[in-house]
C-alpha cells in the first residue's frame, strides 16, 4: 500500500492547531489536579456549558471572540462557586469522594443541558472568519487558525501567570507541598477556589474558541474531556508545559490517524497512546518522578 505524503504539511499544521485547543482545555484540568489533587471528571461538562453560553451570546449578536472574555469570567465564577459548595466538602472525605463527586457533577450537568437545551446541535449564527487561507499547498479555514492561535496565546498567558506572578507562585507552592505552603501563610481554601475557577475559566475560554468551528450539544464535553485526560497523562498530571506538548502530540496523532488509518478509527491511537504512557511511563513524557 502506497502512503501518500502529499497532504502531510496540511495535516501537520491542522494537527497542531487542533492540539492547541486541546492544550487550553487540558491546562485547566492539569492546574486543578496540580494544586488540589482533584481529577475533575466534569471538566468536559464545564466546556460544554461555556459552548452553550457562547451560543447564547451569538443569539444576541456577540461573536465568539467578543463573548470569550465574558464567558471565561463567568466560568471562573462558576468554578469558584462549585469549589466552595462542593469540591471543598469532597476533599474532606475519602479519596474516592472526589472521583464520585465530580462524576455526579458530570451526570448532573449533562442531564441539565439535555433537559434545558435538548440534544439538538447548536452552532453560532453568522460565525466570523469564514474565509480560507492558502499557503502553498496548505489550505486552512480562518476560523481554525484564529481558534488555534487564540488558544496558544491564552495557554501562554496562563503559563506566564503561574510562572511569574505572586498568586501563580502560591499555586505552585501548593502543588509542591501543601503543608509547607500553608505554614508560609498561604490561604489554602482561597487559593484552591481560585485555582478551580482558573481551571474552569480555561475550559470556558476554550469553549468560546471551539464555537468558531464546532457545535454545542449536551454530550460534546465527554469527547473533549477524554482527550484532555490523555493529554494530561502524557504531559504528566500537574504540568502546564507538559500539557502543551502532550496536546500538540495528541492533535497530530488524531489528525494523522484520521487521515492515514480512517476517520472513524482516529481515536483508537489516542487511547492506545494513553494506555502505553500510563503503563510504561506513568509520570508522563515530561513529568518528574
Amino acid at each position: 500500500m502506497a502512503v501518500d505524503f502529499g497532504p502531510l504539511p496540511q495535516l501537520i499544521v491542522s494537527g497542531i492547531l487542533t492540539g492547541l485547543l486541546f492544550a487550553l482545555i487540558s491546562v485547566g484540568l492539569t492546574l486543578i489536579f496540580g494544586v488540589m489533587d482533584v481529577v475533575n471528571f466534569a471538566h468536559g461538562e464545564f466546556l460544554m456549558l461555556a459552548m452553550y453560553a457562547t451560543f447564547g451570546a451569538g443569539l444576541i449578536g456577540l461573536n465568539p471572540i467578543l463573548a470569550l472574555p465574558v464567558v471565561a469570567l463567568l466560568m471562573f465564577l462558576v468554578g469558584a462557586i462549585v469549589y466552595r459548595v462542593l469540591i471543598r466538602r469532597l476533599l474532606a472525605g475519602p479519596p474516592s469522594a472526589v472521583v464520585f463527586g465530580t462524576f455526579g457533577l458530570l451526570v448532573f450537568l449533562q442531564g441539565a443541558a439535555q433537559f434545558l437545551f435538548t440534544s439538538d446541535y447548536r452552532s453560532v449564527p453568522n460565525p466570523p472568519f469564514q474565509g480560507t487561507l492558502h499557503l502553498g499547498s496548505i489550505n486552512l479555514g480562518e476560523a481554525q487558525i484564529v481558534a488555534g492561535l487564540g488558544a496558544l496565546v491564552l495557554t501562554a498567558f496562563v503559563f506566564a501567570f503561574v510562572e511569574y506572578t505572586e498568586p501563580g507562585r502560591a499555586l505552585r507552592a501548593l502543588s509542591e507541598d501543601r503543608v509547607a505552603a500553608q505554614l508560609m501563610g498561604i490561604d489554602v481554601q482561597r487559593m484552591n477556589a481560585f485555582a478551580f475557577g482558573l481551571g474552569i475559566a480555561c475550559a470556558g475560554a476554550a469553549g468560546a474558541l471551539l464555537m468558531l468551528t464546532y457545535q454545542a450539544y449536551p454530550r460534546v464535553g465527554t469527547e473533549f474531556a477524554l482527550t484532555a485526560f490523555v493529554v494530561v497523562a502524557l504531559g504528566g498530571f500537574g504540568s502546564v508545559q507538559g500539557a502543551l506538548v502532550g496536546a500538540v502530540l495528541v492533535g497530530l496523532v488524531e489528525v494523522l490517524g484520521g487521515f492515514y488509518i480512517s476517520p472513524a478509527l482516529k481515536m483508537i491511537p489516542v487511547y492506545v497512546l494513553y494506555l502505553l504512557v500510563v503503563l510504561v511511563r506513568p509520570q508522563g513524557l515530561l513529568g518528574r518522578r
Binding site: G101, F108, A112, V230
Partner: protein
C-alpha cells in the same frame, strides 16, 4: 447482616417478584422490573471491583457489551442462546484478565481513565468491524418462544430468568463478603502496601475478582439482548452505559450486598419518570435527579443509600438501648 437474614431477604424479594411475574401482566411494569434486575446485577458486578476492591471502573459497559454481542452473534448464526451465555461470560472473563493484568498496576484515576479508554476502543472497534455488524449492530431473529430459545411472549418469563441471575449474583456477593478473597479485597482497598506486606497478592486478588465481574456483567448483557433482540455498539458499549452502571453502584452504596439492588430500583424508577431508558435519549431529567442524588450522597453520606439505612438503624438501636 447475617447470612440467614440475607437469604431471608432474598427469598422475600424473590417471592414477591415471582408473584408479580406470574400474576401481573402489565408489560410496562414487567419491563421496568426486568431492566431493574439487569441493572441490579450490573451494579453488583461493578460493586465487586469498584466497591469491595476499591478500583473505580468507568468502563463496565465493556463486559455488558461482550455478553450482548455474544447473544447476537450466536442468534444470527443459529447457535443456542444458552451457549451464548456461557461463551459471552468466558470471553468477558478472559478480556477482564487481559485488561486487568496491565491496568491493575495503575492506581486511582489512572485506572479509572484506563477503563474508559479500553471500553471506548471496544466501542470504536465494534462500530467498524464487519463481523460485529458495524455501527448498525444486529437485529436478532425472532424464534418460536421457548426456554431453549430464551425468547418468550410473556414479559413475566423474562423477569423470572433475570431474577435467577439476580439471585446468583446476590448469593455470590454474600459468599464473597465472607470468603478469604473478600477480606483480601477490603484489605487492598484500605491500604495496598499493608495488604502486600502481610503476603496478599494484590494483583491476583483483583484479577480473579475482575474476571468474575466480567462474567457476571456479560451474563446480564446476554439476557438483556435476548429481551430487546437488538444489539448495537452505542447501546451496549457506549460511555453512557458505563456511567449508568457506575451510577447504580454509587447511589445504592459501595461494598454492600443490597446497595446495587437499591440503586437499580431508584435508577429504573427515575428513568421511567424522567423519560430515558437504556440507550435512549429522553429529556434528561432523570440524569439531573441522579446527578443531584450522587452529589448529595457523596457530600453528606459517602456510603450511599444503604449507608443511610445503616445510619438510621444505628441511631435506632442507640436510642432503644
Amino acid at each position: 447482616m447475617s447470612v440467614r437474614s440475607h437469604v431471608a431477604a432474598l427469598a422475600a424479594v424473590s417471592a414477591a417478584l415471582i408473584a408479580l411475574a406470574l400474576g401481573y401482566h402489565n408489560p410496562f411494569i414487567l419491563d421496568l422490573v426486568f431492566t431493574g434486575l439487569i441493572f441490579a446485577v450490573l451494579g453488583q458486578s461493578w460493586n465487586w471491583i469498584s466497591g469491595y476492591a476499591g478500583q473505580i471502573s468507568f468502563g463496565h459497559a465493556l463486559f455488558f457489551g461482550c455478553g450482548a454481542y455474544a447473544a447476537a452473534l450466536f442468534a444470527v448464526h443459529h447457535g443456542s442462546p444458552w451457549l451464548a451465555l456461557v461463551g459471552g461470560a468466558v470471553v468477558a472473563a478472559v478480556l477482564a484478565v487481559l485488561v486487568g493484568f496491565p491496568c491493575f498496576a495503575l492506581r486511582g484515576h489512572y485506572f479509572s481513565i484506563a477503563t474508559i479508554a479500553v471500553a471506548a476502543i471496544a466501542e470504536i472497534t465494534a462500530s467498524n468491524a464487519d463481523v460485529l455488524g458495524k455501527a448498525n449492530g444486529f437485529e436478532m431473529p425472532i424464534l418460536a418462544p421457548s426456554l431453549a430459545a430464551l425468547q418468550f411472549t410473556d414479559k413475566g418469563q423474562y423477569v423470572l430468568v433475570a431474577l435467577g441471575l439476580f439471585v446468583i449474583a446476590q448469593l455470590a456477593t454474600v459468599g464473597l463478603e465472607r470468603s478469604r478473597l473478600g477480606y483480601y479485597l477490603r484489605a487492598i482497598r484500605q491500604n495496598q502496601e499493608a495488604a502486600a506486606s502481610v503476603g496478599i497478592d494484590a494483583r491476583l486478588a483483583k484479577l480473579v475478582t475482575y474476571a468474575g465481574c466480567g462474567a457476571l456483567a456479560a451474563l446480564a448483557g446476554a439476557l438483556y439482548a435476548q429481551q430487546t433482540l437488538y444489539v448495537g455498539p452505542e447501546d451496549t458499549l457506549g460511555l453512557p452505559i458505563s456511567i449508568s452502571i457506575a451510577l447504580v453502584g454509587v447511589v445504592g452504596g459501595l461494598s454492600t450486598v443490597w446497595g446495587p439492588a437499591l440503586g437499580a430500583f431508584v435508577y429504573v424508577v427515575l428513568a421511567r419518570y424522567g423519560g430515558a431508558m437504556l440507550g435512549g435519549s429522553g429529556r434528561g431529567l432523570d440524569l439531573v435527579l441522579y446527578g443531584a442524588l450522587i452529589l448529595l450522597i457523596v457530600s453528606l453520606q459517602p456510603d450511599g443509600l444503604a449507608g443511610f439505612a445503616r445510619f438510621v438503624r444505628r441511631r435506632g438501636t442507640a436510642a432503644s438501648s
